[in-house]
């Protein structure tokens, strides 16, 4: 072929109805079976009638549980018996008749944005609800110019730095070797929200191999680094096209929805036009942080 070319990169436990049941007891019980998980400044209430599951969530999202009570979205969780469903199965996310339908091998969920409510049907494990939360956040962020990015992120001197890359690129490594003055936001999935002046990175409870939750704080994003392990520490410039392709390749997005796909595509370009992006080659030890300030 001459000259022509293109590249493909490509709730409810039934309430005990007992007339002699003290009201104060009921109120206490309900309050104990609900919690608000706030990630990226977006509070999501989760309702369950299972105390053990609630405790599991409180532990899983420690640091991200908001006691204020207000929530932008509310989910009722119906627990099902454990099953060996495949957590690696493809996620399906579709929008029909005003509702998002989310499913994977180990859960089914629906969310009606206009009502700000939904339900999740899953067994008592943290992985399914974790997936639902990630998906819901991507859907909300896509309409606001933000996104979830497959990257580590951290704050140093009031500025946030993102470290993107595929598995084994070094996200967990660079997080593990961070000096004490660095606040870790995540070693796996970064939360990026558009602001009036640029972009903010928020801490997330979404962890990688480090297994340590990020701090629930945020800061303006200074630089996005594309990670590569090497024999020396160096920062190299990259073209805007390469930056955009790499950013798009590391975005988390699940919905089969043309409008949101297009919105996310344009958000990537906007991000690259506002935030410096560079390649960071590093030796896997703490010295790489001498370049990041």
């Amino acid at each position: 072929m001459w000259l022509w070319a293109y590249t493909v990169f490509a709730r409810v436990q039934k309430g005990k109805h007992r007339s002699d049941f003290p009201l104060s007891h009921l109120v206490t019980e309900v309050a104990h079976l609900s919690l608000v998980i706030e990630i990226g400044g977006m509070p999501v209430r989760v309702n369950t009638f299972d105390p053990a599951f609630l405790e599991l969530l409180e532990r899983r999202y420690s640091g991200f549980v908001n006691d204020s009570g207000d929530a932008e979205i509310e989910f009722d969780v119906e627990l099902t018996p454990p099953n060996p469903a495949d957590r690696d199965a493809d996620v399906e996310v579709k929008y029909r008749f005003g509702r998002w339908s989310l499913s994977r091998g180990d859960f089914r969920a629906e969310w009606e944005p206009s009502a700000r409510r939904g339900w999740i049907r899953q067994s008592a494990n943290p992985y399914a609800i974790d997936a639902v939360l990630r998906i819901v956040h991507t859907l909300v962020l896509a309409r606001q110019g933000g996104f979830l990015l497959h990257s580590a992120s951290a704050i140093r001197n009031g500025k946030a730095f993102l470290f993107a890359g595929v598995s084994e690129a070094g996200k967990t490594t660079i997080s593990r070797v961070a000096p004490p003055d660095v606040t870790l936001l995540t070693d796996e999935i970064s939360y990026v929200r558009k602001s009036a002046d640029g972009y903010l990175a928020f801490g997330t409870p979404f962890t990688g191999e480090l297994g340590k939750l990020g701090e629930n704080v945020s800061a303006p994003i200074s630089t996005l680094y594309l990670l590569a392990k090497g024999h020396e520490n160096r920062i190299e410039p990259i073209t805007p096209g390469e930056a955009t392709r790499s950013l798009l390749a590391n975005l988390l997005f699940f919905a089969e929805d043309e409008a949101l796909i297009q919105a996310t595509f344009h958000s990537a370009f906007d991000f690259v036009s506002r935030v410096p992006v560079a390649k960071l080659t590093f030796v896997p030890d703490a010295r790489v942080w001498e370049l990041i300030a």
Binding site: M1, W2, L3, W4, A5, Y6, T7, V8, F9, A10, T239, P240, G241, T244, R245, L248, A249, F253, E258, A259, I261, Q262, F265, H266, F269, V272
Partner: protein, 104 residues
């Protein structure tokens, strides 16, 4: 050979960056990057101008290439992009539609 008309699929998102055209399929999120000549074809694909006119006016005038060879390659590329729902190809002019994912 009958005339072919090509039009950008309004259901894709496209942006040009430093002369490089990037296109994302709204169907499956596949990202395509077009080179310079493919970008010329993409930008000229208005549904009203035939492919042979595009090749004659936009390609052969700028590149040292045989018109017949350029047209054949252009048709192959157009059909390949059409199979991926990036472009639409028709033997009739393609009416203009709202470019929801128009290139910027």
């Amino acid at each position: 050979m009958s005339k072919l008309y090509v039009a950008r699929n309004p259901r894709v998102a496209a942006r040009s960056l430093d002369g490089e055209m990037m296109i994302m399929s709204g169907r499956d999120s596949t990202l395509f990057t077009l080179n310079k000549t493919a970008t010329i074809l993409w930008q000229a694909a208005d549904g009203a101008t035939s492919l042979d006119e595009i090749v004659k006016l936009r390609i052969c005038s700028e590149f040292d290439v045989e018109p017949a060879e350029a047209l054949q390659d252009a048709e192959n590329l157009a059909r390949e992009l059409a199979s991926r729902e990036i472009l639409e190809v028709s033997e009739e002019p393609i009416p203009h539609r709202n470019p929801a994912g128009a290139s910027r």
